[in-house]
Structures are given as structure tokens and as C-alpha cells.
Symmetry: C2
Subunit: 156 residues, 2 copies
């Protein structure tokens, strides 16, 4: 299906459900979703969506992922308040990756940094390239029960 | 390991191998790698790397992925000539995604388009947002043997 579309010119249109039905989800029913700040181009994070998260995101305009660590829908910012508003949703040529153009409230990363990609390879070293904008303790509270809602392997 | 690093300030440094040893590869030994044009911020594509592809990329400065469809290393542009030069390689907070800042020669997408994310959801439709910069036939030749080297589910 997507193979047929790729030769069509700009402006060609198709029913949304027809295309979404041809997304290639992995064995767990998930597809990677890259979040990019819409006005600066900053790549904020990558997370995963299932069909339900994608549908909710398109319906509400607020980005919802599927948290692999928590095994449930994860409305970005539900703990931290650092939500993402959807500005545009793009599907790649082979239908196995999504690009979300978003408007991010505050830092995207659970560490309080603007984005999750703050470790840079520099020759034979890796360097931390950014400081937190906000103390993560402020985002999540400092009690173990609260911080336990935000496992290390999910962003904020 | 990465959990300890996240609280350290900008400029903190670690041996590269120590960090790379803590990357979270999936069950197939792969990690997603987002390619972004370094000077414009355009998100070009997402593909996968294994440890060998990552090592080669860091050593040569030319981006090498692991092609899941071909089951082997895939030096981006090996068929099309549309290579990616590495400008910077970033690791995310939980060590399960890479961001490559690259300089892309020509179009990144196997369709001849600048990037792979040319299908945009527009209400209840999906629209093709870009035309090819180059006829894919020019990139790969038109004989079946040649185009067979570039399956639909890998970019150029």
C-alpha cells in the first residue's frame, strides 16, 4: 500500500484509516515515535506508541505514548505536567516510524533537561552536554512513591 | 550506570567504551538511530544499528546502519551514493536511542525525497507533502537486480 503511494505527487490524499491500517507495528504492537519541537527543530525524545495511544493523540491533540516499563498508556506529562501538544504527525516511507512535531511544555526529559539526548560522544569519551532546566525533584516530588511513578527508562 | 550520570553537571566526562557497554540493545541486538541534518534540524530518517555498525560509524565518520531486511551492515548510500557524514552522535538518557547529527548528501529517502517523513496526517486524511528531488530510477538504476538491492523498507 505505502509502496504504491510513494510514487504519487505532493498533494495526493488518502483516507487516514486506510494508511494507519498499514502501519508496521512490531511484535509488541508498538511503533517508535520521534518527538521534535515544532518551531526550533530540537529532537526531544523517542518513545513508543500502540494503536490506542496513536488514536488518542490524534483525537485529543495531546501526545500519549505507550510506556513499555509501566505496560500502559502514558499521557506525556501526567506526572510532571510537562505535556506535549501535537502540531503535526508524519509517517515515514515504509510505515514503521512516526515523527511528531510538538509544542513541549518545559523540559521533555525526566532528568529536567530540555531533551533526552544530552550525552555526546567526543572522541574516546562521552560528555554530558546540558544541565537540567528544572530540578527533577520539583517535577516529580522527592518522595519515593512519587518518583516511583517515573521509571528511569521513560522520559518525563 | 546512566542513572548515576544523569545527575552530573554539564562537562562531566566518561570513557566512551564504558558508556557504550551500557547501551540497551533490543532482543535482536539493535538500537534505533535517528538521523537529523546537522545544520537545518530536518529529521531525515530512522534506522537501526548493531554494535558493529555503531563502532564503524564512529571509526570512519560515515554512517553505517544494520539493515533488518538484508540482515547485514548497510553503509548508507552504498547503492545510491547518498551518504551521511557524521557530525555528532548523541545517546539518550536511558541509553536506548541514538541521535545522529549528519551531513546528508542528496535525498535521504529511497523514494528520492529529502527525508522519509513525507506522509502527514491532515484531519481524517493523509497527504503526501513532498515530491522527489531525484527520480529513484536515477539513484538505483531501473533494472530489477539493482532496485532489488534497496528493499522498500530501507531508506536509500
Amino acid at each position: 500500500m505505502l509502496k504504491d503511494i510513494e510514487n504519487l505527487p505532493r498533494g495526493s490524499r488518502f483516507p487516514r484509516e486506510e494508511i494507519l491500517d498499514h502501519l508496521k507495528l512490531n511484535a509488541e504492537g508498538l511503533i517508535p515515535a520521534i518527538a521534535q519541537q515544532h518551531d526550533t527543530g530540537e529532537v526531544l525524545m523517542m518513545a513508543w506508541m500502540n494503536a490506542e495511544a496513536l488514536e488518542e493523540t490524534l483525537t485529543t491533540g495531546r501526545v500519549c505514548y505507550f510506556s513499555r516499563s509501566r505496560g500502559r498508556l502514558w499521557r506525556k506529562g501526567e506526572s510532571s505536567g510537562q505535556i506535549q501538544r501535537l502540531k503535526g504527525l508524519y509517517i515515514d516511507c515504509d510505515g514503521d516510524t512516526l515523527l511528531l512535531r510538538v509544542d513541549q511544555t518545559g523540559p521533555a526529559c525526566h532528568t529536567g533537561r530540555s531533551n533526552c539526548f544530552f550525552l555526546r560522544v567526543d572522541g574516546h569519551e562521552v560528555v554530558v552536554t546540558a544541565n537540567p532546566l528544572i530540578d527533577p525533584g520539583t517535577l516529580y516530588g522527592n518522595d519515593p512513591a512519587s518518583s516511583g511513578q517515573t521509571p528511569a527508562n521513560d522520559p518525563a
